[in-house]
Symmetry: none
Subunit: 191 residues, 2 copies
């Protein structure tokens, strides 16, 4: 099976590829960057998968899109669908982390969850959906250099380390994206 990932984010490609064993995984064409105008993860994932299919770069492949958000309890679920542009349209990962720390200054309830929704559009136009969640807490400061995004601030439930202090394999075993990808692989009957 051939899978084209409907994302321009190299970090997502690097995480997803080893989670889809037995498939030939490739990245979206250079410059792929559809407007993520949706108000939910499912909407944005569908927008990206549909945009990739519209390019018809590889008609026989599954177009697979990932939309992921960090939902923080004390912030009524923000930044959620706006996670990657929380500190502004051109925000870096570190900018977003700093903004989150500022918003949570003095806030005792640090509960949060990472949520991933994957949408696959197959060549026969079947649509497959899989999701994954990782509950945890927001740390008081950034720690670690692995992973990406909010990983330096996110301590999964039952862990002491932030996600950025874990190896890729450790993170994948418990992460939102790992769980979602294994479910998608099951739907695709990958080995």
């Amino acid at each position: 099976m051939r899978i084209v990932l409907a994302t321009g984010n190299r970090d997502k490609v690097a995480e997803l590829e080893p989670l889809l064993p037995g498939a030939q995984v490739s990245a979206a064409p250079e410059g792929f960057d559809p407007a993520e105008t949706g108000t939910t993860l499912l909407q944005n994932a569908l927008i990206k998968a549909e945009a990739l299919r519209a390019l018809a770069a590889d008609d026989g492949a599954l177009a697979l899109a990932d939309d992921t958000g960090l939902v923080v309890h004390a912030l009524d679920g923000r930044p959620g669908v706006f996670s990657s542009r929380y500190a502004g349209p051109d925000a870096t990962y570190a900018d977003n982390c700093r903004r989150l720390l500022e918003e949570l200054e003095g806030v005792e309830d640090r509960r949060a969850a990472f949520v991933t929704v994957l949408v696959g559009l197959a060549s026969d136009d079947r649509m497959l959906v899989a999701g994954g969640v990782c509950p945890g807490v927001i740390a008081p400061a950034m720690r670690g250099s692995e992973g990406f995004g909010y990983d330096p601030l996110f301590v999964p439930e039952g862990e002491e380390r932030s996600m950025a202090e874990m190896t890729r394999e450790e993170k994948a075993a418990i992460s939102h994206r790992g769980r979602a990808a294994r479910r998608m692989a099951a739907l695709l009957q990958l080995p």
Copy 2:
């Protein structure tokens, strides 16, 4: 098939159980109360199903979560995902109903819909999603004592009575939760 409901809400358990005939349905362990940090019904349902699976209370069972919201047209879809805590974190059903009546005081457009999203996580990690909607209007005052939540204020399309003036069977035949549960039962190939 064994199904464990990922909810601490006894009213939801009572409604869902008869809608899943042929399955052995049980409730989540006492005190089950994951933080519902999501910004959408799907996210929160997934969060609850995932939290139940993490407990591994019954590994061979389907973990089934319900997230339901009342979306009111004149309020741009509020209270939506915040329906159960509309009047505050410890709000009672009656508190939430009163808050809604206040918000809609003098508002002519009373259109609303109840929406349920069900997420099932199977023991083989398949993820099943089903949804149901019931359109209607918000009544000018609370009526009836059956059901729960906003039922005393919600008059389904084509009905004169509020949902709290219907028997459980009458409500299930047309309700958001009834529709979603029958769709989930079909996915699970329950009789």
